[in-house]
Symmetry: C2
Subunit: 170 residues, 2 copies
């Protein structure tokens, strides 16, 4: 009798996982889109993530960190780290919240707004080109499905999706 020294997973299973895993498909699409927008935004000096983050700070009132992290569906510690280079470049200011001294309020600086304004037309062009290349209706449908997934996997369902007060129109 021979010791089984390895546990074989059938190749067909590998193919099944490759073809069906939503997580894998999402990571691949996220990497591909990140590269697309990173390349496009490079002349503006921003990555796709920095663009999204800075855009989310373009509000009437400076938001605290927690809601911003939720909006981007990222860990709070990731946001702390992501802010560092933007602070260093003087594009984002992080100030103590006078109403709650544990908290910070995030705001774009004048220069940050200028950088973002220069990046905006690039985003518009890139996104329009992307939309056009997608089959009719794909874009809106994909957006909707991605939103469903983001919300569903959240411990606090829809916390990131229920447009936070600071981002509500009106």
């Amino acid at each position: 009798m021979v010791m089984s020294n390895s546990v074989e997973i059938p190749f067909s299973t590998t193919l099944l996982v490759r073809d069906t895993c939503l997580c894998l498909h999402a990571q691949r699409a996220a990497r591909a889109l990140a590269r697309l927008f990173d390349d496009a935004l490079r002349p503006a000096g921003l990555t796709n993530g920095q663009f999204s983050l800075m855009m989310s700070l373009n509000r009437p009132e400076p938001p605290p960190m927690g809601p911003v992290a939720s909006l981007l569906a990222m860990d709070q510690t990731t946001l702390t780290a992501a802010l560092k280079p933007l602070q260093r470049k003087g594009w984002v200011s992080v100030m103590e919240n006078p109403k709650d001294r544990r908290g910070r309020l995030l705001a774009l600086t004048g220069e940050g707004k200028a950088v973002l304004a220069r990046a905006l037309p690039i985003w518009k062009e890139t996104h329009a080109a992307l939309d056009q290349k997608l089959p009719d209706g794909s874009s809106a449908r994909l957006r909707q499905d991605l939103q469903t997934v983001s919300g569903m996997t959240d411990e606090t369902p829809n916390r990131a999706l229920a447009a936070p007060a600071e981002l509500q129109r009106g």
Copy 2:
């Protein structure tokens, strides 16, 4: 006449970008799904990315690095880095390709196969639960749309999607 010391982007534009940007939606969904699978796979000692990578190495013939990076839609240097911890743990072996001494051939070790085999049922459960929570038909549709996006943004269209020879049935 007053110097304009900042370039304001209307708040309505911020809301538009937040609601429509496919890149942002993809990053959020990717982060959310990564957390979901990372949490589930933690008892098996794998992250979602390590699971996908190792599963892609479960083939009859050890593949070189390039096609694996393409399959995962990741940079080749990212793959080099991602292999490090797996090599250290003795789950993946990286050997010189005798047919092309520039290249490397990647393979699971016996222990790597065992780890992957223990992770597989966790993936199945997690993915089944996810599928069930999604509205009917969403899962397949989302997969398809994500694949379209991944392929479209690739410099070599469909390079990552055209199932590479090593992954072909037959």
